[in-house]
Symmetry: C2
Amino acid sequence: MASGRVFLVGAGPGDPGLLTVKGRRVLEHADAIVYDRLASPRLLGYAKPGVSLYYVGKVADDHTMPQRDIEQLLISLARAGRNVVRLKGGDPFVFGRGGEEALALAKADIPFEVVPGITSAVSVPAYAGIPVTYRDVSPSFTVVTGHRSTEGLELDWNAYAKLSDTLVVLMGVRQLPRIVAGLLTAGKSPTTPVALIRWGTRAAQRTLVGTLEDIAETVRQTRFQSPAIIVVGDVVSSRDELSWFESLP
Amino acid sequence: MASGRVFLVGAGPGDPGLLTVKGRRVLEHADAIVYDRLASPRLLGYAKPGVSLYYVGKVADDHTMPQRDIEQLLISLARAGRNVVRLKGGDPFVFGRGGEEALALAKADIPFEVVPGITSAVSVPAYAGIPVTYRDVSPSFTVVTGHRSTEGLELDWNAYAKLSDTLVVLMGVRQLPRIVAGLLTAGKSPTTPVALIRWGTRAAQRTLVGTLEDIAETVRQTRFQSPAIIVVGDVVSSRDELSWFESLP
């Protein structure tokens, strides 16, 4: 039997309108969909009748299905001749282990395609009124996962602090005190603006703003919870004028 | 008359399938579309009959219409009660001056929304088989514009060289020798893999691979031309196994 094809599809950050046209098309034609806990379960509504759904949900550190088993599932579905969509939050190659899944497919000789998704690293700040780049203020941005620290691989905050531009930290709320301490120790100004955005691009979106000096305490006091995206840098101040989503009627 | 609304819409990197579902919807309803030179002119085909089109094309440094005039155009169209789409390549807030346009609209009290687009910084490497993040290899990525150097604002390559992870440079081909020299002087290994990707996500996509040591010379010899995206970092090696788009039948 001819092998099916696997599409590694980015589901975007939450707003279902941020799926791509191509992502929608491959969802409509999929025989099987293998998905994580999605910010937007509505996307499954695009699937055709009779589609096989496989929930392999990842909830932060707690993987419902081990990564190797997910890869094996994709391979066996494709070998059974089915067209498979592997649906992942955000973009498949911005964290989320899409690279590993693509490599497993390549090694197994399964044809695959990548359908990029809107990454929350850029779009969630945008929905909070924060452009990650802004002429003369921030001509670059860096995206990092705070999650890494939990694996004992401490990031070199010193290098990140040297960049004067925007720093976006995904999955970092639990590590916030360490991140803040790392940046301050490395010489980042205590008055550097910081924003935390929870449920970004969704109706429930909530944003908390402070500075490197006070944000950890504010988070503690307001009991602001993960998951949220952290943005560090002067562009955060744009929010005062550019916040559009949270003021929609 | 009630003011119209302006949608700052990201057109994505070139493959028209990478427009978002929401982007398509607002294009279909727009009374006026103000657009740059697009990687994918086909997107204008979504517009309704009678739509007013305004080409304000930006070709690298050569702005057909000054930025202030573009902002004024958006404001007057909205004040005339029209629903306006400002269509930009990639994502409106990843370079491309979307932040400035949003600010001009905010100051003029024009309601606006941002519809993020697939940024070429992540999707073009993905189409070349390069995940910008990869577990244990690259837990972060930085996106910078090479364009800035042309304005005499030299980037601090020293800080970027300190980051061991992926560096993506947009609009940097003409500056390649300076970028390479900056990174090498700052201590980046000469054997660090580098890829240049031209016409990313389009049928004509072409990728050139080398190292920091030899890439500038290879570009010269092959007369590889801008515009192209530069990726620096170990993830470039993934391409050997993950290149999928360039081998599609």
